[in-house]
């Protein structure tokens, strides 16, 4: 096991900031090492995004497994961790989903202090704007389901909506006038890069090795068909266990191990406006028209909608969806029509047959998979914690027992309505 507990992580504080200012910030320690790739590890995690790094950190912290390599094809946190809209919430429908995401929100609340890294966590609440009676019934059901488990999801009146979101127009010309709002005070955002970097730094300090620009090209098998390592662009690496956290590309990667999963990959795009003075201080979601909008700390409006209407790995802009989202935005917030859009991006999200995550062993011994993160930024802390538990102990974590692949064999679906803005 690792030498990592002997390493001292350079702590970030006002004192170290002031001391490094004296040397013009030339002497900061590297946040993580780039060691040579060794021929064998106890655990190899494929994918150095939020989930992979969180899994590595929790393997070392909770289970003392620090002889771990996180292998990444591109650069750290450069996949879906960099291609989302950094929203954190727990307003789900199913009991297991609510408990799971509530635990994730609580871990996010502690993350800056626990990892000694400011992730710019801003718990500013999220408000759903309800524009149809069907959606109102649906969200009221979710509100009652959540009341059983702790997080708040509370109906509010249109007057209260106007008070909390003064940037809205007069709502007279809205095709579907708002009927009510639903307030989720736990709703938050955080800096997405900082989440990946903080886990990378904390995992590295516990002995985990991070290897960027190392693509997994195949899997090693023993005589029984168990996975005992990976072939990479930098050579063969043997491993006691191999864990996939390759959001968006899991079907593509696991096909090299001869497996097929119940997944579809789609493009989910978002875009930001030019920065403006503070105008909207909550996360607004309009599920009836497929729109969500928030203002980042830089002042840019971050805007997103539904997924593209067909399977795609393109990570681009589907113009019809873009136009739909902008039309919805201008209807509810007419004054935003004056804004210019600065940039646009797409993330390749994959969702399972029932739109719930998969944290599971696979039919091949030694190979584990964490996938189906249909909007997985919010789940990074708990996803990593529960995946690490599964890898280390071989048994699912109590919070994630329902999320195994076995549920499909018995048709025990976890049909989830609380994922990415549904229409």
């Amino acid at each position: 096991m690792g030498f990592g507990t002997l390493r001292l992580m350079q702590r970030y504080s006002f004192f170290t900031l002031a001391r490094n200012a004296l040397t013009r910030h030339q002497d900061w320690a590297r946040a993580w090492r780039s060691p040579p790739l060794r021929p064998s590890y106890d655990v190899v995690i494929v994918g150095a995004g939020g989930h992979g790094l969180s899994t590595a950190y929790h393997l070392a912290k909770e289970h003392g497994v620090s002889n771990v390599a996180v292998i990444e094809k591109g650069w750290l946190g450069g996949g879906n961790t960099a291609r989302n809209t950094h929203t954190i919430r727990s307003n789900y429908l199913r009991d297991v989903s609510i408990r799971f995401h509530d635990a994730s929100v609580k871990l996010y609340e502690q993350m800056s202090a626990e990892l000694n890294y400011n992730i710019l966590f801003s718990q500013r609440s999220m408000i759903d704007l309800v524009q149809s009676w069907g959606k109102l019934r649906d969200l009221r059901r979710r509100s009652l389901a959540m009341a059983l488990h702790g997080p708040t999801y509370q109906l509010i009146s249109v007057d209260e909506l106007r008070r909390r979101i003064p940037a809205m127009g007069d709502l007279q010309n809205v095709r579907l006038p708002p009927l009510a709002g639903v307030l989720h005070p736990e709703g938050a955002m955080a800096r997405h890069d900082a989440v990946a970097w903080s886990y990378a730094r904390a995992a590295d300090a516990r002995g985990v090795e991070i290897h960027q620009h190392t693509e997994v090209t195949g899997f090693l098998s023993d005589a029984r068909g168990a996975v005992v390592g990976v072939e990479t662009s930098r050579g063969v690496v043997r491993a006691g266990k191999v864990a996939l956290a390759t959001a968006g590309n899991t079907s593509h990667v696991i096909a090299r191990a001869g497996l097929t999963l119940p997944l579809v990959t789609r493009n989910l795009q978002a875009f930001v406006s030019e920065p403006v003075k503070p105008i909207i201080d909550v996360i607004v979601n309009c599920p009836d028209v497929g729109l969500y909008v928030m203002q980042s700390d830089k002042g840019e409006l971050v805007i997103g909608g539904g997924t593209d209407p067909y399977p795609s790995y393109r990570q681009g802009c589907h113009f019809a969806t873009f136009e739909d989202v902008v039309a919805s935005l201008i209807e509810v917030f007419p004054r935003f029509g004056a804004l210019k859009m600065l940039r646009q991006w797409g993330g390749a999200i994959e969702f399972a047959y029932d739109a719930s995550p998969i944290i599971s062993a696979t039919p091949r011994d030694g190979l584990f998979v964490s996938t189906g993160w249909y909007g997985g930024f919010k789940s990074i802390p708990i996803g990593g914690l529960t995946f690490a538990h599964l890898i280390a102990t071989g048994r699912p974590h109590a919070l994630a027992e329902a999320f195994t692949l076995g549920r499909f064999g018995g048709l025990r679906y976890l049909l989830e309505a609380g994922t990415v803005a549904q229409r």
Partner: protein
């Protein structure tokens, strides 16, 4: 905007169509399969990054459902699958 070649109507804009997802092999006889095989037929998708065959429904016009070969990375449509389907 994709331009989708409909076998009946010719090349038409994407918004006249609905993508029905990946085309799978023809439905096996359930009685000949065990539970795991049946669950696999229902749920598992190749979800390829690259060329794959999918079904499209020309709902706004002729109503035909046909198969189309498309690249999921570049979105390039190659019409070769539709003849086989017809």
């Amino acid at each position: 905007m994709l331009l989708i070649p409909c076998p009946d109507c010719g090349v038409r804009p994407e918004n006249e169509f609905q993508c029905l997802g990946e085309a799978v092999t023809s439905r096996p006889e359930p009685a000949t399969l065990d539970d795991a095989q049946w669950a696999g037929y229902i749920h598992e998708r190749a979800n390829r990054r690259g060329q794959h065959v999918e079904r499209w429904w020309h709902f706004a016009c002729c109503g035909m459902i046909f198969a189309l070969s498309r690249d999921t990375l570049t979105h390039a449509v190659s019409a070769n699958a539709q003849d086989a389907w017809r």
